[in-house]
């Protein structure tokens, strides 16, 4: 029964990723056509990103392992992808539902509020806004021959991306409705067991205070096993702010690409959260496929691909050596954890810089 539920969750996640990919592709085509860059549409690697991403998600060995292990990560992933899909399609209640449940199940999707608001306000990913302004100013001043074309373009799609407030307000209302509902149901269910306070203490409190230091693929356990009591709270704050302080700068830099921003946030939280698992990696690797067109010439892709495979194979071996055979020690296992987080860092940094390079290339083509 649980198996069936997880299969269904994985399958629905893949379908939603595919639908999101199609929306992104549509938006990309529209914006490139508006910017009069049809040759880019033809020349560049024009893979159907939605199909590719859903296949990556389904065939990822990490996803399969999560499914076999009967984890609840597929359901978390489903809620996150539901949020992103609904925000892309401007469905405020569905997005609010996905957001509330994703935050309820694990705390970290709360940072997705920024990309979701940007998606609801501006719409799916598009080149930076100033390119459109540049284009419209260009067409008004310099090319009278293109006037008709640009005017028709203006009538079909508005060039300037204004922030529409109404979906965001709806979203906020629905978030409050869904969160009240969920908390009410939880309080009924937990009446005899300590109520909501106990629930928050045991779920969010546990995630934030890192009570259990059993080894996992993250980086927190090793550090907190040796930190002194006096400094424990300070370092807890440091590690959690490590995620939080990256939110705002990335949002400022990537506000024209909210879907990509959501991907970067999921990758960062999968790397730096207190109890990561391979299910989180499966999610962002699937979402990575959505941007295959823009990230086609990413550096270090070979290194990253084989690095992931290597770490996936070595990490259980080192764990076995340390815990079951006793011929290794914690450093063996933590080394693989460090390599894993290193690979994730390289992936995030490279993908962001490739995306920015892509935007710069677009800008060069528009101005030229």
């Amino acid at each position: 029964m649980a198996n069936l539920l997880i299969f269904i969750a994985d399958f629905v996640t893949a379908m939603l990723i595919r639908a999101t990919g199609q929306k992104l592709l549509l938006s990309r085509r529209q914006s490139l056509e508006y910017l009069n860059l049809p040759k880019l549409v033809k020349n560049s690697a024009n893979i159907n990103a939605g199909d590719l991403a859903s296949l990556i998600y389904l065939w990822n060995p990490l996803t399969i392992v999560t499914c076999l292990g009967l984890c609840s990560s597929p359901i978390d992933n489903l809620m996150v992808v539901l949020t992103i899909y609904a925000a892309c399609s401007r469905l405020a209640p569905l997005a609010a539902f996905g957001y509330v449940l994703a935050t309820h199940l694990s705390l970290y999707p709360a940072i997705l509020i920024l990309p979701v608001i940007l998606l609801l306000g501006y719409g799916p990913d598009a080149p930076p806004a100033k390119l459109f302004l540049h284009k419209s100013s260009n067409s008004d001043g310099k090319d009278p021959s293109n006037n008709d074309e640009s005017r028709s373009a203006v009538t079909t799609h508005k060039p300037v991306r204004c922030f529409s407030r109404r979906p965001v307000v709806h979203f906020m209302i629905w978030v409050s409705i869904w969160s009240c509902y969920v908390l009410f149901l939880c309080s009924i269910y937990l009446k005899g067991l300590g109520g909501l306070q106990e629930m928050f203490k045991k779920t969010y409190g546990f995630i934030l205070t890192v009570g259990d230091l059993s080894p996992n693929i993250g980086v927190l356990w090793y550090f907190f096993a040796e930190v002194f009591e006096f400094f424990r709270n300070f370092f807890l704050i440091v590690f959690h702010v490590n995620i939080l302080f990256m939110i705002l700068p990335l949002a400022i830099r990537l506000k024209h690409r909210p879907c990509f921003l959501a991907f970067v946030y999921t990758a960062i939280s999968a790397m730096l959260k207190s109890y990561p698992s391979v299910g989180d990696s499966a999610l962002y690797l699937g979402l990575l496929g959505l941007f295959a067109n823009e990230l086609a010439d990413m550096q270090f892709s070979f290194f990253l691909f084989f690095g992931y495979i290597g770490v996936s194979l070595l990490s259980p071996v080192m764990h076995n050596l340390w815990i079951w055979r006793g011929t290794g020690n914690a450093n063996f296992y933590f080394a693989t954890g460090l390599v894993y987080s290193c690979l994730q860092t390289v992936l995030i940094v490279e993908s962001v810089s490739t995306m920015l390079k892509h935007d710069r290339m677009l800008r060069k083509h528009v101005i030229a």
């Binding site: 938006s27 209302i173 629905w174 409705i177 509902y181 269910y189 300590g194």
Partner: protein, 347 residues
């Protein structure tokens, strides 16, 4: 990218619906519940300690199950937080070190032998021939000879909640002690009245697992007493199952289902007595569990009062008392329904 042009009508409709539900929910939000302990409305004393008096009245090997009943309750009561100093355990015979016991020093209440009730942490206060009606009444009223040690006294006061559990063989208006004497219902009523006069309890819960247990409470008349019996007049209480290894029945049905209820709780639980009553199934018990709540002053469900905070708390209590699982299932179903409707409306 562009601002979507929407049909104005559905959005206005859904906006109106959203406003309505929002208003309702803000009302509920204002009186957000917080866990708080209920306070007694009637008497002036505060509840500040718990006692348990657990009595097994039968001897002989074939009454093994009565010993197992009492020891199971002893274990449960200790697990839920009452320490040995506050428990008076009276066992009329020794089953653990009985010559007929193939598992020496072990007492089980289930044929799977998962739990040894007679570990190294059992303190029996009255054993063997010390369990008599006279000693039982002396314990409850507190009238002891000066030589009786403190561990054998019930040192409760006006703030105590006492659990009195008795098991053995009984009949119409009596309970048999040691196969030689009887405790009658008017004796019990008399001693409870004396306890109330001497302010030896704030609330008393009497649980009796014998045949025709309800008749034992017929004469009770003191306030603050709650009584649960395993069967009505004319009905027998039955054992649960036979352990073919030990050779006798190892637990009674009523106690078995009571233990099942308590196993789900821990020290911090707030389960109500109503849910305990509701968990008894007459078909499974093969008798009708009887409970007497008319002497109990504090209502088992809170009274409705005007403030919406109280109302929400009552709603939660009522919802939690009855099958909270089904309520939550319905809630989830409604949530999915609301989700599909709202998504369809917003497209």
């Amino acid at each position: 990218m562009a601002i979507d042009r929407r049909r104005p009508k559905p959005s206005r409709r859904s906006h109106f619906v959203i406003r309505e539900t929002l208003l309702l929910l803000f009302l509920l939000l204002i009186c957000a519940p917080s866990p708080s302990s209920s306070s007694s409305s009637s008497s002036s004393s505060m509840h500040n300690n718990n006692w348990a008096v657990l009595v097994c009245t039968s001897r002989f090997w074939f009454n093994y199950r009565h010993m197992a009943n009492t020891l199971s309750l002893y274990r449960t009561v200790k697990r839920l937080g009452i320490p040995d100093e506050r428990i008076i355990l009276m066992l009329a015979d020794d089953m653990a070190c009985n010559a007929r016991n193939t598992y020496p020093a072990q007492v089980f209440n289930n044929e799977n032998h998962q739990l040894n009730l007679y570990g190294d942490n059992v303190e029996v206060d009255y054993r063997g021939y010390e369990v008599t009606v006279e000693n039982f009444l002396r314990v409850l009223t507190g009238r002891h000879d000066s030589a009786v040690p403190r561990s054998k006294r019930l040192l409760s006061d006006e703030g105590s909640h006492i659990l009195l559990y008795m098991t053995g063989h009984g009949g119409d208006e009596f309970l048999k002690f040691q196969d030689s004497e009887e405790l009658q219902s008017h004796d019990l009523a008399d001693v409870v009245k004396q306890m109330k006069e001497k302010n030896r309890f704030k609330e008393l819960l009497i649980m009796v697992d014998t045949c025709q247990a309800a008749t034992l409470f017929s004469q009770l008349n003191s306030p603050g007493v709650l009584a649960i019996g395993s069967s009505m007049k004319g009905e027998n209480s039955y054992s649960h199952h036979l352990d073919s290894d030990i050779g006798v029945s190892v637990v009674d049905r009523f106690t078995f289902y009571t233990l099942t209820f308590f196993e789900k709780l821990n020290m911090y639980s707030n389960a109500s007595l109503n849910s305990l009553f509701a968990s008894y199934n007459p078909t499974l018990l093969m008798s009708t569990a009887y409970y007497r709540t008319d002497l109990y002053e504090r209502p088992l469900n809170e009274d409705r009062s005007c403030s919406s905070y109280e109302w929400l708390k009552v709603l939660q209590d009522r919802l939690a008392d009855e099958k909270s699982d089904t309520i939550v299932m319905y809630g989830l179903g409604t949530m999915i329904l609301l989700l599909t409707v709202s998504t369809w409306l917003s497209t």
